[in-house]
């Protein structure tokens, strides 16, 4: 009788545990859509929220600057890229792509597609050889950029010193500098800086 009760108890316990484990969301694979407009950081390092925030801030400031004003026609720019001067792999092309989209959509700036120049020339060459004269793209009519958009992203990081502790504190500072250079004169036409710092804590002991 006693053995039966013990066995029943064990079975009940195991059923409860398995029900708990399968029922608990933490033990199930799941996918959830996130609101990209909502700022969220998992670690102290550069992430997608920063990409959005920084590119939006730079684009807004450039569009509101007296340099751009109401120039007509809209000045033509080329993007030379943002130099990654951090200790991490940062897709700085993603940053400039986002800025270009925002600036272009404002209608106040035009861009040459310098990243696709080779493809462009290849297509023009193909058309010159194979397309009918009326549909052929004219060669030598591309517009030259007047300004160059470039920048750099730097990172400084501090980690809590070695001591008896259960978590590691990390402070990370980022500064993005963006500048517009007049390609004719070589003078800086506009520049701005955006910076932020963040703290995170990482456990030193885990399961």
């Amino acid at each position: 009788m006693k053995t039966t009760v013990t066995r029943t108890g064990l079975v009940f316990l195991m059923c409860s545990i398995s029900a708990f484990l399968t029922g608990c969301a933490a033990f199930r694979a799941s996918t959830t859509d996130l609101d990209v407009n909502k700022t969220q950081h998992v670690r102290s390092t550069y992430d997608f929220s920063d990409l959005r925030t920084l590119s939006q801030a730079v684009a807004d400031e450039l569009l509101a600057s007296p340099f751009l004003g109401d120039k007509s026609p809209a000045p033509i720019m080329m993007i030379a890229g943002v130099q990654n001067r951090t200790g991490r792999y940062v897709d700085t092309k993603g940053l400039t792509d986002k800025m270009r989209t925002l600036l272009f959509q404002s209608g106040k700036v035009q861009f040459v597609n310098e990243a696709r120049r080779e493809d462009l020339l290849k297509e023009q060459g193909y058309q010159a050889a194979n397309a009918t004269p009326e549909t052929q793209t004219a060669v030598g009519k591309q517009l030259g950029a007047k300004y160059m958009l470039s920048g750099s992203l730097i990172e400084m990081q501090e980690t809590s010193p070695r001591q008896v502790r259960v978590s590691k504190q990390e402070y990370t500072y980022y500064k993005l500098t963006m500048e517009v250079t007049d390609l004719e004169t070589g003078l800086l036409a506009w520049t701005t800086e955006k910076e932020f710092a963040r703290q995170s804590s990482q456990p030193l002991i885990g399961w």
Binding site: Q83, N84, T86, K168, L204, I205, G206
Partner: protein, 431 residues
């Protein structure tokens, strides 16, 4: 004793063995086979072996390090960089100490813990990733690795472990390539301070014999050979990272009087014209030796502690009138499972050298003439790839995977002969 009791005794023992086997994983055969193929020059086969192997959780870093190296020398720079970066990311994750694996290591052995590599291996991981980026002319990413090298060599991170001049030089060079001259200068300066017999010019990165030290321990032949090319008119230069020999194997046993051997060096020729030579900036066997010396006490204390714990478990079972079970547990825990953790990044080269020589502006290939420390030619490698260019600087690297044949052992310190079993195979004997 009846059969039921014997089975009852064996059950927990079987459970322990099974758990230990799962924890230890079965990575070694695939790794050994891949390393063997790699050193036989069969890079694709080595890559396939590692690709098809199931990577145990505790050996992810080691697998990625080895596969990254196989792919680097197979010319697959992008996938190699991906492997190295995956290893680095995994190392970041492993900064959090796993209580479960830590506890298991006190009952089984240290191999149940995730492989993190030694500090010099972690630094060289970034130096080798940088090489991938240099081979792809990806200067910004190479500079990212330079910053990671600098971070890993920070005394707060490195502790008392040795640092190597090669990684410092690599960091300086990557920073120089993105025009960060002030930081490059600091790295060249530190590299220079770690070297004997040669010095690194902090302004130019040129490596020259140190005038005050004609016979350095690492570069004895430095003065004997001409140091610059005959033709000084070229404003262009070639920076070639020359990688020679085999690193220490995990199973290598060190002897008290072990001494580093004299490294080979490489002469760079182009169309028969001598351009300059390489200088040795690091010896991974020496780094492994120094690191193992530092870790020896910690490892010994842990091993003794673990054996005591195992003995206590076995004795407590015996004390509960279960002698057979006690003996079995003792046999399994101490006799079968007690073994040292000999995991090591074994596809690393032994001698990490740099040749920075003047070269013609139309450089598309060059020859690397490998020589013993006293100038005897061993063999010649022809290099066409990788050669990338940034303004007036050509960047390239080459590896001689044949073991250090032709290198000559030197008498050990204090005039004693090394004992048999000391790590000499890589120093003296061609395989």
């Amino acid at each position: 004793m009846d059969l039921r009791r014997v089975i009852a005794c064996l059950r927990p023992v079987g459970l322990v063995v099974l758990t230990a086997l799962i924890q230890c994983g079965c990575a070694t055969p695939a790794l050994d086979s891949a390393r063997h193929n790699f050193y036989a020059g069969q890079f694709d086969k080595a890559n396939e072996t590692l690709d098809s192997a199931k990577v145990p959780d505790n050996n992810k870093v080691l697998f990625n390090m080895e596969r990254g190296t196989v792919r680097l020398f197979a010319g697959r720079y992008e996938t190699s960089a991906r492997d190295y970066i995956a290893a680095s990311d995994e190392l970041d994750r492993l900064e959090t100490y796993s209580v479960s694996k830590g506890t298991a290591s006190w009952v089984v052995n240290d191999t149940v813990q995730s492989f993190r590599g030694t500090p010099y291996e972690r630094t060289l991981l970034h130096a080798f990733t940088a090489k991938d980026h240099l081979a792809m002319a990806n200067w910004d990413n190479a500079a990212v690795e330079a910053r990671r090298i600098i971070k890993s060599l920070d005394p707060a991170v490195r502790g008392d472990y040795p640092e190597d001049a090669y990684s410092r030089y690599m960091a300086g060079f990557c920073l120089e390539m993105i025009d960060d001259d002030s930081n490059a200068r600091i790295q060249y300066q530190r590299a220079s301070s770690l070297l004997s017999g040669i010095k690194v010019d902090e302004d130019t990165g040129h490596i020259l014999p140190a005038p005050e030290s004609a016979a350095g321990t690492n570069n004895t032949g430095a003065v004997a050979s001409p140091i610059v090319a005959d033709d000084k008119r070229w404003p262009h230069e070639l920076v070639c990272f020359v990688l020679l020999g085999h690193s220490a194997r995990g199973s290598d046993v060190w002897q008290q009087n072990w001494t580093p051997g004299q490294p080979m060096y490489a002469e760079i020729h182009r169309n028969g014209q001598y351009l300059g030579r390489s200088y040795n900036l690091a010896d991974t066997v020496e780094l492994a030796y120094t690191t193992d010396q530092i870790e020896a006490v910690r490892k010994m204390i842990k091993t003794v502690g673990r054996v005591v714990v195992k003995e206590a478990i076995a004795s407590s079972l015996e004390a509960n009138d279960n002698e057979l079970l006690g003996e079995l547990v003792r046999f399994v825990l101490i006799g079968l499972l007690e073994r040292p953790d000999i995991r090591r990044w074994e596809t690393l080269p032994r001698w990490l050298q740099v040749a920075r020589v003047p070269c013609p502006p139309d450089l598309t290939n060059y020859d690397v003439v490998l020589k013993t420390f006293n100038g005897v030619t061993i063999r010649t490698l022809h290099v066409e790839n990788p050669i990338t260019r940034r303004r007036n600087t050509f960047v390239s690297f080459c590896r001689d995977i044949v073991p250090a044949s032709g290198s000559v052992s030197i008498p050990p310190r204090n005039g004693k002969e090394p004992r048999p079993g000391a790590l000499q195979s890589a120093v003296t004997d061609p395989e």
